[in-house]
Amino acid sequence: MPHNQPLFLARRSYRRRRMMDAVRLLPVFGAALLMLPLLWQPAETPEPDTAHGVVYLFAIWLLLIVAALSLSRGLAPALLAPEEPVRPGTGEDDGAEGEAG
């Protein structure tokens, strides 16, 4: 970790950092959800339920796409812009009194 990074980030940069965390976690959650079929034995169920399986997989798929869409909107500018440290006196801080911003 470089030493010249600011300790406290402006609110926008702080949000971006958390979005980076989220986008890193997304494939992990996605993989866990998409591996459900490992526990599933469609040929042995009393009633055929492959249709449910199809619906489940496509629903997860759509969920991942929507999540990736919302995260990529926030992160695309972060690819170029540097992170800004918190500026004293502007009322922006690293979210100590309100995470819901």
Binding site: L34, L38, V54, V55, V66, L79
Partner: protein, 892 residues
Amino acid sequence: MPFNILVAVSLLYVVVLFGVAFVAEQRARGGLAGWLRSPLVYTLSLSIYCTAWTFYGAVGYAARSGLEFLTIYLGPTLVFVGWWWVLRKLVRIGRAQRVTSIADLISSRYGKSNFLGVVVTLMAVLAATPYIALQLQSVTLSFAVFASDTPEGWALPDQGATALWLAAGLTLFTILFGTRNLDANERHHGIVMAIAVEAVVKLVALLAVGIFVVWGVAGGVSDILARIDASPIADWNLKPGRWAGLTFVSAAAILTLPRMFQVMVVENADERHVATASWAFPLYLMLMSLFVVPIAVVGLDIMPAGSNPDLFVLTIPLSAGAGKLALLAFLGGFSSATSMVIVAAIALATMVSNHIVTPLWLALRVGSARAPGDVRGIVLMSRRLSIGAVLALGYTYYHLSGGSAALAAIGLISFVGAAQVLPAMLGGIYWRGATHVGAAIGLITGFAIWLYCLFLPSFGSGGLISAGVMAEGPFGIGWLRPQALFGITGLDPLLHALFWSMLLNTSTFLIGSLASFPGPMERLQGVAFVNIFDQSSGPGGWTRSAAEAEDLLSMSQRILGAEEAQRFFQAQAAAQGKLGFLPDPTPDFVARLERQLAGSVGAATAHAMIAQLSGGATVSVQDLIAVAGEAQQIKEYSAQLEAKSDELARTARALREANDKLTELSVQKDAFLSQISHELRTPMTSIRAFSEILMEADLPDEMRTKYAGIIHDETRRLTRLLDDLLDLSVLENRRVQLNIGVANLHDLLSKAVTAASNTRPDRAFVVQRDAASEHMPVFTDTDRLLQVFINIVSNARKYCDAERAVLRVEVKKRGRNVEIDFIDNGSGIPKKSQALIFEKFARLTDTSHAGGAGLGLAICREIMANLGGSIDYLPGQGGAAFRVRLPLKRAS
């Protein structure tokens, strides 16, 4: 649908594609790239992942193995939604290092090793050949579907001929639009645009067929869901191993397939496009997969038993009489196949020409980088020939295999082959310890296992591997059976090959890396790749370039083209603040030039060519040490400067102090003049006054005697003053004659105390002495030393202001010197006056009870200097304190 209309429509479609590519090239050339570089086009160009294998094969796959086909699209979805991990870094590295292909990435990372480039290139060509054959086969099959409907009057077209024409047409298209620019980083706008159009066509076609099947043939969504549960697909048996394994292999393949790397990294125009593709590409994949199961279910339901499920996309609309829809589906399949073949051919041809043909050509003509010749032409020609060769290989494979195997199997075999690059690639971008040796061993191991366990057996028993070897192992060695390595049987052949190849590939890569030692270039590149986000520019590899700018220009012109090279050189010269075309060949410039050339011919070749011009001066440990040495020198130099400026500051301080002292001395000198006038005038005044009185006649005798005595005393005082001044002058000029003798220090001190006792004899004055320490012989001018002692003791008697005045005399032997301290218990001398007391006529208090003219200590100082010792004021002793230092033996 008459067959000739189909042919006409196909040709028309191809002409439209040519037109699109041509217009895009023109616009890009005219600087109107604009929306050609939009994230949408980028995402659509990624759709070459969906080949004819997806377009036709997915339905067949679903008909045979249920939902398992989804794994092929779920793996890439996970990679793309997790773009922040790998894709972002790959794209950044690709742009920063001007990577031209996946082989170039591996070669560049591991010290610009061309050997690794060759290994990866050979693997890629071998793995892609069946895949290209598969595309030719799918188009040929789809033609045949239409042809089977033709009336007897039409001759059934020869399938081999169709494939041959197709291969030839694709070669022409690819050469025309794929080899216009040599610099891979300049991007093939025409081709990217054409495949974006094809991406739209295939998506629309598949969606149209899907919608037709769900709402035209079946009765809507609920009916389809019911049909799914009623169909044979509902009885599919999910194999957990295959589900996880295929998801993994497809995730790996999207990163390592040469054609995917081409569109994803090499053709990337803007890193932010990756952010858009992170959701848009999974969406595309999902839409492509959406109707696969319904089409498969309906096809199994309504088509006659035994019909090929791989062609349901075409045959369902045809059997339902929707000819135009079938034509659209045909164009979709055609698009899927052609776009994949075009990009794969470009990617493979770049690799073959950069890593095999050009290095060979350079090696065959030693020293050729200096020799005249059109390198650019050679590289372009080799690339064109490579495109032809790649397609010819695909055609040959198709021709030999007879195009019988199921589509899905070929695709997966190709995926597992491509995935062998994954350990070297991920290790290379995340682990600085990954080495060239480890990568080479891992790649070759994984590749060999893939070849032996999966690729060769895919030709069927009795093909390239005999049935005997398959059953018994080579030479009867049972544990080497291709599909049961180490005697472990019962595994799915694909999973078997995937497990062993990836396991042994990764472990040999790790062990080889841990056990070997990387070269300097490799370490530089390792840092540049792994820490790509921490630095803006790569390491400068050329420290002591012997290359002349002119040689470099003439070489670059032959690779980049004259105009391009001159523009680059001019810009670089301008950046250095020079006019003209020849910048200084600084290491920075040479490194930049190398990256520029690497964009055309690959990192290894570019490095080799510059090395030729630089007299083979590749970077070595010595160079690195030299760089470190230079940095050290600069650091030392700046430290020296700092020390010098400190010294200057000290000198300035000393000068200021000297100046202060001078000013004070000048004040003193004025005071001295007035003092000496005063000192001289006081006795003179009384002498004159009394001598006038003596001149009066009637003066009684006793009066006369008294006044004459006063005159005599005053004259003596004057004489003493003048004697002192004379004495001081002699001492100061070091012209004094010293009478060196020997005396006991104790005796000298006693004499001094006695002699001084007539100064203010009324005062009670205690002198504390330690007789034992005082007994020592001193070789010096004893009279002069006594004079100093007397002066100090009488000063103490005069000025000590304590109630009960005490003078302590301490004698210490310090090495070759003896120190005699005289410490009284008065209030001492103020700090600001301490520097002045040894000056002439310095008298601190008023002159009321001072007998002398203020020359005493000045004389003492001069005497001690003459005797080779010193006298100093000793501060902080609780009173006035003087230290007389005297050498025990006078230096000769």
